[in-house]
């Protein structure tokens, strides 16, 4: 297990809104080890999404260094960033972002077809418990099922890092719990490094590492030696 698999060093991100400059990431520094289940918590506007975007290669930073798996991604060009997203990152969206016109399996295939080294779509869907619904269109699936497809799509690429942006935000309690369970299982069983952002600090006990952010700054980075299984967490 590589230590400091993900490493943020003094990362700044500023948005200019007219004459006002908002500093969304204000010298963010933290690191996550490989295979950890890290949760970034903070209130709305704490800068956690910014961090996730930068980490996911969908946004760039103005200053600082981001190292993922020994590779500095802070100065990658557009194309290399796309490659980075393609091969290294799995992204789980709050609103699933499935292509409505593709079946569950096809949505997974959309991801696998661009990767050389990928998992079998059917197998991934089986592993997220959707064996029966592979050929359904997103509109025919419930929210939880859709999020499972979304996770399957992210996992199918065999990413080094799974980034989840409020994956339970649009789901009800139980479904959300199931999704978190799935993610935790993937982390534990497959050794997947998972970084999850949420505003719900109640789920932090399930994480190996909890990063607390406020106003674009990391205010704490705590390692939880004994993460609880999600079933034991109530909120």
């Amino acid at each position: 297990m590589t230590k400091d698999f993900v490493k943020f060093e003094n990362v700044y991100k500023r948005y200019k809104m007219g004459e006002v400059t908002i500093t969304a990431a204000d010298g963010v520094t933290f690191s996550v080890d490989e295979g950890e289940f890290a949760v970034v918590v903070g209130l709305s506007g704490a800068g956690k999404t910014t961090v996730l975007n930068i980490l996911g290669g969908i946004d760039s930073c103005d200053e600082g260094k981001i190292i993922v798996g020994g590779k500095d991604i802070s100065h990658l060009n557009k194309h290399d960033l796309a490659s980075y997203r393609r091969y290294d990152i799995g992204f789980v969206f709050q609103f699933y972002n499935l292509i409505p016109n593709l079946t569950a399996k096809e949505n997974v295939e959309l991801a696998t077809q661009i990767c050389n080294d990928h998992l079998d779509a059917d197998a991934v869907l089986d592993s997220v418990g959707l064996s029966e619904r592979k050929n359904n269109f997103p509109s025919q699936l419930s929210g939880g099922e859709q999020q499972r497809v979304s996770i399957a799509r992210a996992l199918a690429k065999k990413p080094k890092l799974l980034l989840c942006d409020e994956p339970t935000g649009a789901l009800d309690y139980n479904t959300g719990k199931n999704i978190l369970k799935l993610l935790q299982t993937k982390c534990i069983e497959d050794g997947m490094t998972v970084i999850l952002i949420t505003h719900n600090s109640a789920i932090t006990p399930m994480a190996n590492r909890v990063i607390n952010m406020r106003s674009g700054k990391v205010i704490s980075n705590v390692i939880n030696p004994n993460p609880l299984p999600i079933d034991q967490i109530e909120w």
Binding site: N53, R85, R86, N101
Partner: protein, 1154 residues
Amino acid sequence: MKEKGNKKKALRKNIIREISRTKSRFISIFAIIGISVGFFTGVKSACPSMLETAQRYFDDNNLMDFSIISTIGFDDNDIDAIKKLDFVEAVMPSYMADMIVSEGDVDNVARIIALSDKNSNINTPMLKEGTLPQNDGECLIESYYAKLSGTKIGDTVKFTSQDNSMLKNNEYKIVGIADSPLYVTYTRGNTNIGNGSISFYIIVRPEEFIPERYTKIFIKTKASQSDISAFSDEYKNMIQDESDILEALSFDCIDRFNSETLYDAKKKLSDAKKEFNEKKSEVMQKISDGEKEISKGEKELNEKLAEGQKQLDDGQKEIDKLKNELINARNEYNQKLSNAEKNLNYAKTRFENKSAEYNKLKSEYDINIKNIQKSLDDAQKDFQQKYNIFYKQTKPLFEQQLNSLQSKIDFLNAQTEINQNSIQTRISLGLDTRRLESKIQEYQKDIPKYQKQYNELSEEFSVYEQEFKNTEKQFNEAKQNLENEKNSLSEKLKNAKNQLNSAELKLNETQAEYNNITSSSNFDIKMLETEVTIGEKKIKQGREKLESEKQKALEQLNSAKAEIENGKTEANEQLSQAEKELSDAQDKIDKLNNAEWYIYDRDDNPGYSGLVEDAQRVDNIAKVFPLFFLIVASLVCLTTMSRMVEERRTETGTLKALGYSDRDISSKYLIYGSTAGIGGCIVGGFLGVITLPKIIVDTYGIMYMLPETKIVVSQADFFVSSIVAVMCICLVAFIACRKDLKLNPATLMRPKAPKPGKRIMLEYITPVWKNMSFTSKVTARNLFRYKARFLMTVIGVAGCTALIVAGFGLRDSITVIGDLQYVDISHYEQIYALSEAGTAQEKNDVISKFQNDERFDNSMLSYMGFSSNVNSKKSNTSLNSRIVIGENYDDFKRMFTLRDRLTHTPIELDDSSIVIDERMSDVLKIKKGDTINIKIDEIFYNCTVSGITENYAGNFIYMTPEFYKNITGDDIKYNVIVTSVTENYKNNQHDIANDYMKYDDIITVSLISEQVEAIMSTLDSLNIVTFVMIFCAGLLAMVVLYNLTNINIAERVREIATIKVLGFYSLETANYIYRENIILTLFGAVGGLFLGSLFTGFIVESIQMNNVMFPNIVKPVSYVWGFILTFAFSMLVNFIMYFKMNKISMVESLKSIE
């Protein structure tokens, strides 16, 4: 109120934000509406602009309404009469003449026009350079020709025409360059001199013209002074009425002329004729007197000559007698001589023969003698030898032997005797005798032996001797023989010699005789010869004398004759001159008798009616094409607006929940749409109007000599198209809003569920679906997912492709006419107008001239008439048509192809019906078997149509001469000769035309090639219109595609952002969207090709003119262009959109669904 104001303010802000937020959509609508309204208005304004430009030019330069020419010219009375008419504003009497101007080898015809006078100022020339002519011998030259020929101010125009009855000067100095409003095109019309067509015109002061009577009158009437357009029907009607009045006036004027001027002229003529006849008879008398005298002198001379001749002849006779004698003497002499000669020759021959004989004998003799001598010698020699042998050898030998034997015998005998004697003695002595006796016996015994031997030898010798004696005898005999022979030969030779000698003697005798004859007879002959020579010399002298006398006399006679002849020709010339003058005067009077006024209006100006037609043609195109344009544009805007309303569904719900009224909410879209629409209308309309009419009119300006284009905005078209376009948008927005507004706010605020994915038909065709790549599957499903978008895009693209194809198709349909008409249909190159129409018999001489000219493939007497008001019961329209009748049907078929357009089945003419062209049948709504009314010489005839033939330019009615006779009752009088020129001379048509223009029978020549050029140049200008169309269609296609792609991308921002997050590279992302776009474009483009062919049909139908049929033809290459251009635009749009797509932030994917 304040509240309302605030509310409005918030709404207004919302609208402004909306616009700035969806700039590309706004601009798309703006541009689509702008382009189509601008295009429509612009093209629609071209026609009025063109006409207005022309109208202004005509107004500014006071273009006449009527020009009148007359066979008798005009005088001031006529002018006054016209001036009195109430509709006449101004009258300008004027002149006109055509003159030949040579430049190098080229004979050009110049038309000389009189400068407009200061009072009426009709047809004021537009001075471009220099000054108006002020002085004697100055002129203006037209600008086009000046430019073409490089003529400058200061140059001169010099006439080579001999006719100096029209103009004072033969040379005019150019003082200015100006254009007359009479000529709006570059056609200058026809004339009856030179090559038949006018090359340019010059303008001189009216004072330059010699004729007393005006040759032309220009009239300006109320029709053009009023505000109405010169191109309107109103103007035409007024002109028609005025024309009728003028025609009525013309009869009065002609009557007056007949009663005044003509009466005087007739009287003068008859006086002159009388005088002429008197003078003529006088002159004739004089001539005949002179001729009589001459003939008398001639007779005398002939008598004298005859006498001299006779004397000479007598002398000659005598001489001839002498000559005869001489000849006789000569003959006699010759006879004698020849006899002597003969004798001599005979003697000579004989002598020669004898001589030869002798010589032969002699040589023979010599040889023989020689031989004989030789034989003799040989014999002698032989004998001598034998003799010698005998006498010297044999005989002595024998004699010796004989002698020895004798001696032996003698010895024995002697011995015996001795012994006997001894015996005797012994006996005597008695001695024994026996020994002696034995001895004697012995002796005795030997003697016989010897005797015998002796005898034998002697015998042998005698044999030898005998032999020798024989030989000797033989020899002597032979010798004797030879000697005899020798003698006989000698005798023979001697004989021959004798004969020869006698022959020689004879020869000498004859020779002497001959010599005698030759020497004696010559003298007589010489005497005679001398006599003859002297006589002949005398005769010769006599002859010469006579000849010289005769020559002298003849000279005198001839000079007298020549004098008379000269006098006669002179007299004749004078007489014929006088006669010609008289007949000219008679002709003039005859013409004056049948005087007529020809009243022309503006339409008769060269090129004037073409201007109207051209304008009309552009307008016709503008009728349909931009309409399609507008339809496509509206369709695209419509879908754009309905999309927009749909997108803003949540907002609508929110506003509704907040309590805004339906009107307020929908006003947003109405305002959005109408702002874009109206803005587009204004900007597009403005741009369209300032560019298109100018481009189009300027293009036509190349053919027309018009001043700077004056743009007239077709306001009605602008407003109608604008209102239609804006209404379309607003109505759609309103309807879409209404649909949403009916729902309750809660439903509206809930995001409309994304359209669920669905299996498409293709998926059930498992083998196909399975074999498709993943991306193809995605594309296929996406295509069919949004059926509306699919349809909208396909229709939009199809519309644009169709417009482009239609643009090209229109161009094809227009440009193909020339080839179709003048390659497939008409096969003649020239039309020679006969100065007088006549029947086939009457025109036989003229046509045979053509038919014998190898430069023509075909020449045919034809009738080409013109029927106005051709009409049918089925249609209210009437039109003008040519009537064509060919004298020879075979020739006719070679020069006119009559066939069905579609099947190309030939159509035959018969003697009971006519064949008309297809356009006429369309206009008159005539089918095969129907009847139409045609006008021949002002009489209408109802004719059955038996065939409708393919034809593009002009209207034609074809019939046979027999049919003509059947309906009119008259024999057809042919007025033209139609010819087709052989391939080799196709380029020398002007030369041929020039050759034939020299004949009085031919009045003008029209070259089809020039007509084709004229037609094609008009149609070429139409090309620019089609190019404008193609360009605008392309522009529209681009905006439409941009808009559609823009909508497509806007709708799928989230999807695009998502796949970007998934790690799609830029190009992959673009392909994800473009694959669909390309397929949609493909569908649209293919559909557009079909639609384009339909469009072309519509447009071509709409630009059809009464006398031109445009075939509906779209060349394959046009489809290819339509397809390629659409794709090119699509690619360009995709390229632009690539950047836009790149800009889509992936952060979008994280946003919640609105």
